[in-house]
Subunit: 385 residues, 2 copies
């Protein structure tokens, strides 16, 4: 397998982007990434998108987006793994470059979520759960994650304040991110008194509905300096894994075992462990998810992530900064784009180009992107060469 | 890149399978393939499916189907390229094995199309076209392919009888296929007098709405004999390509340029040309599609495929047998499964196991699977080792 590098990244400010369609959003991010890399051709592309069929009545995004980007007849394929679709697109592109089949591969993610009613968005998102055994019984994602939160509180004594601190910390970071949907600080009180969605989760525990896209350009590491003037960032580890799709089939609600399996593979490939990761972007679709995930990644012992968050250990200035971008909570969660947006943040930090939210001296970062209530997960480890 | 072989195939009889759900269909075909290969583990899997969101309200098939197949925590990913989703799953699995990342990769396709009304199926299928510029103006796929047929007739003098002969020939083959949805012979008169759908295309020019799945097991060629008792079939060429998604953006309605580009790549990888292909499975979603495709593949000069079909050259006993399985027309077209179903037929023929429809002495076959009105295409060349 050839070593693979990221040589370009592109995004736009995420939000409720009424004036732009899915194809506009993707092409905008793709052109930004192509310009950033300075490449003159693309050999193949992958698009992560969760449900364009339900959100905008459009499937076949490979053809549509290659067409609108003006790169036909290159191969172009949509991949889908619910909210992990973007990370899976990065993994698919990584494998294609590593295989030797293609040299310059564009990997992107996109979702246009605001063209349906809020009920339509809730229905579309619920298709990431087990339709027959969860959704038809009335489960939605806030409800599923609320059960995880209840179980976690009961077992480990997590307080409501500790949980809220995840949102406070991520908004502290997102307030410094020009691409964030909600770049505003949030007080603990604002989280604690926001509208109840699914007890104990309140509105400010939940990531928002977002339109957006993100794109990265991959190439073989040994061609990076010839193809681009950007300092290459190596993808040193990749891992993906699955778990039972339905929460009720899991042995342990609070152990995200797909994340455990995916990061084990990524750590092994990169030859490092969790202690060698300087910072990470993780899938905080709900505040409780961030706590379970940073334990599954081995950053903190089981049951301690709430205390660690409260103590500031996951803050930008802490010993393991988590979601320097603002995370899904503040940056936004255009589901298919989220995993590529994480890669955008890692590369930005590793280039030392994160401005006011830059973590000094970072050399290695990890991105964890998951689908549904954890039924699929993909992990990437990126590092300065 | 490592050489890749197919060591197992599985399918069920396709049709209107009211008593089985999508997950049942996929797992049935997967277990058949695993049993056929005789493997004891799967390292990774890809699922081609066009629109489970619109057909059954379920996305996240990677997690769902890995779960129901009992193979968690392996990586599992859905890929989508409209009706070419199945072929794209095979290509994705090919790349993963070729890269060295995984050894035993399960690639499958599935679609459950009969759980919505016929209007719902037409809407879901139309999402393979350009929603904003074709579908919202009233275009459906029979209408789009009817325009291709009209243009072809005008330019090349194709007769209605020649076009109908495609369906007659494919039903002659499908009548001998135990997995076919409509395993019955069809007379020229029956095609010519069937209900008009979109002039000049009649009902018997159109592939049906179908439930079904198909699965193949891939591994490195040099491990095939150790992993399986089946004679390995080598995937010697793979090519994928895109074209403008909307028909009105193409320079030439009758030239399927994504098929031209995809087969060029596959021929180059395999080191052969169209004259070295003994037989092929092609994407006859409508009779006119088969004619355009076998010209794009270089089997017949432009404008002559109708005459060649009428003269029996594409019959099972002709010099270039096309769609020995019965094609989409007779075997059925569960869209996401179709491309893997084509691989099932190639492997069956190359093993000499096709029974009454066996083409004697075949050593090399080609599968062509396309999405929409030709906006994406994937081609595989398989051969006896």
């Amino acid at each position: 397998m050839r070593d693979v590098a990221v040589i370009g990244i592109g995004i736009q400010r995420w939000g409720e982007l009424w004036e732009r369609s899915l194809r506009d959003l993707f092409v905008e991010a793709a052109l930004n990434a192509i310009r950033d890399a300075g490449v003159e051709r693309i050999d193949s592309m992958y698009v992560g998108c969760m449900s364009p069929g339900l959100f905008i009545g459009q499937e076949h995004l490979g053809s549509l987006l290659a067409d609108y980007l003006g790169v036909c007849p290159i191969p172009a394929l949509r991949v889908e793994s619910a909210c992990a679709s973007g990370g899976m697109a990065v993994r698919a592109g990584f494998i294609e470059v590593a295989s030797g089949l293609s040299d310059i591969v564009l990997v992107g993610g996109v979702e246009k979520m605001t063209d349906v009613s809020s009920g339509g968005a809730t229905y579309a998102l619920a298709t990431a759960a087990d339709a027959e055994y969860e959704v038809y019984q009335g489960a939605t994602f806030p409800g599923l994650y609320a059960m995880v939160a209840r179980d976690y509180m009961r077992r480990y004594g997590l307080t409501r304040e500790q949980l809220a601190q995840v949102a406070v910390k991520n908004h502290d970071n997102g307030a410094l991110n020009p691409h964030a949907q909600f770049p505003s600080k949030l007080s603990l009180e604002a989280v604690m008194t926001s509208t109840m969605v699914a007890d104990p989760l309140r509105l400010m525990d939940c990531s928002p509905i977002t339109d957006g896209a993100a794109v990265a350009i991959l190439c073989p590491l040994n061609m990076a300096n010839e193809l681009s003037k950007q300092p290459p960032v190596k993808i040193s580890g990749v891992g993906a894994a699955t778990d039972h799709i339905a929460l009720h089939d899991r042995k342990d609600f609070c152990e995200f075992s797909a994340t455990v399996a995916a990061c084990e593979r990524a750590y092994k490939m990169a030859g490092v462990g969790p202690e060698q990761i300087d910072f990470a972007e993780v899938h905080d679709c709900f505040t409780i998810a961030e706590l379970c995930v940073i334990e599954a990644l081995g950053f903190f012992p089981r049951g301690t992530a709430g205390q660690a968050t409260w103590a500031g250990e996951t803050a930008r200035t802490g010993k393991k900064p988590i979601n320097t971008s603002g995370g899904l909570k503040s940056k936004g969660h255009p589901v298919g784009a989220t995993g590529v947006g994480q890669i955008h943040e890692l590369v930005t930090q590793l280039r030392g180009a994160a401005g006011a939210r830059q973590v000094p001296g970072v050399k290695r970062g990890l991105a964890q992107n998951m689908g549904g209530s954890g039924g699929s997960t993909v992990v990437h480890i990126l590092e300065v060469v």
